[in-house]
């Protein structure tokens, strides 16, 4: 039997992106760079902006996430461990009844999903959610 990485069945479990570990050390700063492009270096605070994401992804290739950003005109989403961190940016108009969006994203490995919201008054908010990407395990 040929055992592939995906086979790591065992009760094991293995980081799907194990091969990426340490390979792209500049990834986090790529996200910071992209955030700086949006904010122009302005202060970023925490607020009502929230990310809903699983603690552990069932399938790293398609991870459901939702951002809720009351009072935002724009939300940008980043995956700070992906080779290209930009995921999506969503604009809200005054007629939008709720300022939220959901989608599915691919995560190469355990990493942070980061959202930056631009508020109606021009200020910025940030939220972060850590999503673990793993395979296998042995529940009781």
């Amino acid at each position: 039997m040929q055992l592939t990485r995906r086979d790591l069945l065992v009760m094991g479990s293995v980081g799907m992106g194990a091969t990426l570990m340490g390979a792209l050390p500049a990834i986090a700063s790529l996200t910071d760079d992209e955030i700086a492009k949006i904010t122009g270096g302005a202060d970023v605070s925490e607020g009502d902006l929230a990310i809903t994401a699983p603690e552990i992804a069932e399938n790293g290739n398609t991870v459901p996430i939702e951002v809720t950003a009351p009072g935002a005109v724009m939300v940008a989403i980043f995956a700070d461990g992906n080779p290209v961190p930009n995921v999506a940016s969503v604009k809200f108009g005054p007629m939008n009844p709720s300022r939220s969006a959901s989608t599915r994203i691919r995560l190469a490995k355990t990493q942070n999903v980061v959202a930056i919201a631009q508020m109606e008054d021009g200020s910025f908010q940030k939220a972060t959610s850590n999503v673990k990407v793993t395979i296998g395990g042995c529940g009781g």
Binding site: M1, Q2, L3, R5, R6, D7, L8, L9, V10, M11, G12, S13, V14, G15, A18, M21, T52, P54, E55, I56, E58, N59, P64, S102, K132, T134, I135, G136, G137, C138, G139, G140
Partner: protein, 565 residues
């Protein structure tokens, strides 16, 4: 009007009273050699609502031995907190006398000798007697099954869970939630659930394609009891497609989904619920955290991690009640629900001492009928054991040592890996090992024993990954199992370190050589979550090994060096 603060005092006072009259007394009664069924069942009916909780039965229809763990390490905020204290420390914390029935039922230590004195535990015919007695006190008591019911035995495997469905239906549960049931495959689960005469609940069971609640599993149901409206919300095991083969139930997605849980609690409250009960398969530490995140839950009936505690753990204004596993315990929780609030509770964890509690004749006959077609095959004696065979423990158990030995020799491997599951009864020294006993610790729908090659680097990744499923300081990242058991491989683990830094000193035990990251090793294991895994069934591998041994003796396992506790 009773304030929240008053309620807690009432609740805790109520608990303390029962703790003294119910639980604490086992020890004294047993010392007088007078433990009786009436004493085990004694309970001063309280309030207006009774809950009965059973969980993690793992298809154990008949009485068994079950040794609780001696190693169950807590991390982060749960370091040193129950259920992460064991043995003498556990007994000291609850005032349990050494050698008492409570010692035997709830903690490790002197297990083999106590087992000979106190006998087997569990048996669903005895559980039926206890449930009937509670219903005699409170005819409308709500019976809730926390799941892991349709998995874990020879008959359950061969009937695809039908034996358990038939026997549980006779006990008349009011609701259930799920974990291993899904390893029967989603078609079989749907077939059973569509015909269940009670609610199949799971607020976190979602349709994987649309990421919306799955229609087959409603999030909650209501019960009108004693003039109060009680909501029961189901919480299935959150990490089913990760810890078990997701390809067997690809239509479903799970997760903790505590935001959705909050929404459900708010929804049932707005519909007039006076009391909110969560029937959970989260595992104890996850439940404890969820009780702090989700507001408005009165009672969490906790399953999955197989913990049995003689008193509820109070977190904020929520009481958490874990009820053990393998049919060994039934929890009774009486509630005083008035004016839209839970005003107090009284609780008793009832141990099912099978020699003391009289079996219910009807259920006993029903169990025998399920087993009859398989009795001859199950009863075949394969060998004997000189050693206590048990499973529970964070790093190893003697059953798993034996299974790893079987994999090493029968599959001609250098290293064996065995999953860190927590189900499976114990055998005491001198017992025969029957085919049924082997199936009790190995039975599953993906039991193929693979043989493959892995590099040293890859083996380390496996160990690191599993270790983080247990020792991640945030309970929401814990999957509720134990460490993968290793045969032929020793290692050091520092549980205080982050993922990637916990495992060191990996050693091939046969030669004493250090594991080389770039070298390949022949590895045998079982319970792969991967589709298409090939190999003989693990129960056949173990049977063949035991048959050759005749009498098995398992040496003490010192191959895992645990630091950072």
């Amino acid at each position: 009007m009773i304030s929240r603060r008053d309620f807690l005092q009432v609740g805790m006072a109520a608990s303390a009273i029962v703790g003294a009259s119910g639980f604490g007394n086992w020890a004294r009664l047993a010392a007088q050699q007078s433990l009786t069924q009436d004493q085990l069942l004694q309970f001063d009916t309280y309030g207006n609502v009774s809950l009965i909780h059973v969980t993690d039965i793992h298809a154990q229809l008949k009485p068994i031995y079950f040794r609780e763990p001696s190693v169950n390490i807590g991390v982060g905020a749960n370091k040193g907190a129950v259920p992460h204290i064991t043995g003498a420390d556990f007994r000291k914390a609850y005032g349990i006398a050494d050698g008492s029935p409570s010692h035997y039922a709830l903690s490790a230590g002197d297990f083999s000798s106590l087992a000979k004195g106190y006998g087997r535990v569990g048996g669903l015919d005895r559980v039926a007697t206890v449930i009937n007695a509670i219903r005699a006190d409170r005819p409308d008591a709500i019976l809730l099954d926390g799941g892991d019911t349709w998995h874990g035995s020879y008959t359950c495997y061969h009937t695809q869970g039908q034996d358990m469905v038939n026997v549980m239906n006779a006990l008349k549960p009011d609701a259930m939630t799920f974990h291993w049931e899904f390893t029967l495959g989603s078609d079989r689960v749907a077939e059973i659930v569509e015909n269940l005469p009670f609610a199949a609940l799971g607020q976190n069971i979602f349709d994987a394609e649309w990421d919306e609640p799955a229609e087959l599993f409603p999030p909650y149901t209501f019960f009108e009891r004693g003039g109060a409206k009680v909501a029961v919300i189901g919480q299935a095991f959150p990490y089913m497609p990760i810890a078990n083969p997701g390809w067997m139930f690809p239509e479903y997605s799970f997760g903790i989904r505590d935001e959705h849980m909050q929404k459900m609690v708010d929804e049932v409250r707005s519909q007039g619920a006076d009391c909110v009960v969560v029937l959970s398969h989260n595992g104890f530490d996850v439940d404890k955290k969820m009780a702090t995140v989700v507001k408005g839950i009165d009672v969490i009936l906790s399953g999955h991690t197989h913990d049995a505690l003689p008193e509820p753990v109070v977190s904020g204004s929520t009481i958490i009640v874990p009820s053990g596993s393998n049919g060994k315990f039934v929890s009774r929780v009486d509630l005083d629900v008035r004016d839209g609030k839970m005003m107090g509770y009284r609780h008793k964890l009832i141990p099912i001492f099978s020699d003391i509690i009289t079996p219910d004749a009807d259920v006993a006959n029903l169990i025998d009928a399920q087993r009859a077609p398989y009795e001859t095959a199950m009863r075949e004696v394969i060998g004997q054991t000189d050693s206590l065979l048990y499973r529970r423990g964070n790093f190893n158990g003697s059953w798993d040592d034996l299974i790893c030995d079987a994999l090493l020799s029968e599959r001609d491997a250098q290293i064996a890996l065995s999953p860190g599951v927590r189900w499976g009864p114990s055998l005491i020294p001198g017992q025969d090992i029957t085919r049924e006993d082997i199936w009790n610790v190995t039975s599953m729908s993906y039991g193929e024993a693979y043989r493959s090659e892995m590099t040293g680097e890859f083996l380390k990744i496996v160990l690191e990954d599993v270790a983080d499923n247990i020792f991640n300081p945030d309970p929401y990242y814990q999957q509720g199992g134990d460490m993968v058991r290793t045969g032929g491989l020793g290692y050091r683990i520092d549980i205080s370190k982050p993922q990637g830094e916990r495992i060191s000193n990996m050693t091939l035990l046969k030669t004493g050589e250090t594991i080389d990251p770039s070298k390949s090793y022949v590895v045998a294991g079982w319970a792969s979550v991967n589709e298409g895994t090939e190999g003989p069934k693990i129960w056949d591998v173990v049977e063949s090994h035991i048959r050759k041994q005749g009498t098995v003796t398992v040496q003490e396992n010192n191959s895992v060096d645990v630091v950072g506790v």
